[in-house]
Amino acid sequence: MKITAIVGSNSKHSANRKLLQFMSRHFDDQDITVADIDQVPMFNENYPGGDPQPVIDLAQQIEQSNAVIISCAEHAHTVASSLKSVLEWLSYNLHPFANKPVMIVSVSSFPQGGSRAQMTLRQILNSPGVNAIAWQGDEFLLGNGDTAFNDHGDVKDEGTVKFLDKCFAEFITFAERNNAK
């Protein structure tokens, strides 16, 4: 299955990128491509010249994927503005998320692992403008992100990896069931 994995932060040091890179290596039976969003400008409905190229490229990549994973950072109990900006672009002229299965994961420096940002993100994905099909059931929340990875960028804790395996398997089943392609 072709999957676009969106890093939900424009920070160069985001642990959410690490998680997605780990997932793309770990789940090598699926075709996971990690997509950065730091080239996407702040959404503005009066942006000169229509949708900027990084938005068009990302939209196309999502269109051509069977499913999407978003790993969201949490700032002040909500999603990062950089991720929200991407979702606004992709619910404006282009709507690549429409009926696309989406898995939400998150890493944060605190023990909660971004639980509140996940709730907000789910609400946004369910809004009529975005109209994604957000997978629900288990929640993968990786806390204490600063110490969760080893030097190779792998998730250290075996129990955590096992739980991620379970979540991902459920999501793949869900995505297959909900996939038009």
Binding site: S11, H13, T78, A80, S81, K84, S85, L87, I124
Partner: protein
Amino acid sequence: MKFAAIVGTNADFSYNRILLQYMKKHFKQLADIDVLEINQLPAFDQDLPYEEQSMAVWQFKQAVKNADGVIFSCPEYDHAIPAALISAIEWLFYNPKNILEQKPTMVVGVSYGTQATSRAQEQVRQILASPDCNAAVQAGHEVLVGKAAQSFNKDGNITDQAAVANLEESFTSFVKLTDALSKQTEEDNLMTLKQPFVNDAYINFPTGRLSFKEAQQIFSTIPFEIDLIDRNDRFAWFSDKPNREHVRHVNEINETVDECHPPKALPAVKAIINSFKDGSRDMVERPLIMHGHRTLIQYYALRDVDGSYLGTIEFTGSVEHIISLFENGAFADVTTGASKHGDDAATSETSADATSAASEETGAPVDDAADGAAKAKADADDTDATTSASKED
């Protein structure tokens, strides 16, 4: 009372902007509302070092910091707060410090539909109440203006009287909340925590004593304003002089040097402070034009009697009055006067440069004035030092 009202979108046209402009007009008797835009702000970037933050970010943060309270007018995009507003809030709390801490905040919103941004407003409150922001969020009142196209007339006024009444009630309540929070004094806080505090006292100097009130009023009266950066590089105090050249705000107290200067001015400021700390300089001065008049800024190393560094004071004032005195021959007269007093005429002749002349002048007349005052005291007919000083003239 002064409020910063943030337009929660970067769009060219927004009813949320019109709502804030309406509030500014409608409540002008009650409060001073400053409508702030966010479309000039760059997208938030947590990797950007503080020194590289733009002037637009700094000015936005200053405006919010120096307001007594903040109003957020928030549109709703995809059932949530717009990215541009999240980004603006991220700038406010992230680096170098959270300036929303304990700030009274009110959330309002307008939408074309009937939901009137109810979901986005809840998110703004959730964000403002998070430990990252820790703002004092107004609860119990909601300003939800739906059906925007019908709710406003072409002059930007709200036509629905029930909506106006709700807005008035909500804003009045917000003003009360802001007022209550601002009246909480340091003493109140100490009393709450069962800590003792000093209410009035004298400062005893080797040369006499001043009440706290006198000390404060002296600083407010002298024609130069003073700012103090303490030895820990924190903005500790400024003199409460009317019509200051540099407008300071109590919210800036205790900020680090980094926080209270625009990033681009920092290297020069730090160079001055470092030269005071290492003892290579004691004073730096900058004559310049400020607010249309000639102004002298002098930075002095504030040193303890043993010479150790206590801080940096910035001494600023208009010199127009002094220059005009000079141009009208004032100092020529004083020099003549001084040479009359002085036995040694050669001393005043050698004082060619202004600095040494000034120090010569302070040497002689001050002693004279003190003598004069002592004499006056002895005669018991004149206890006013000012009068005896003017006698010297």
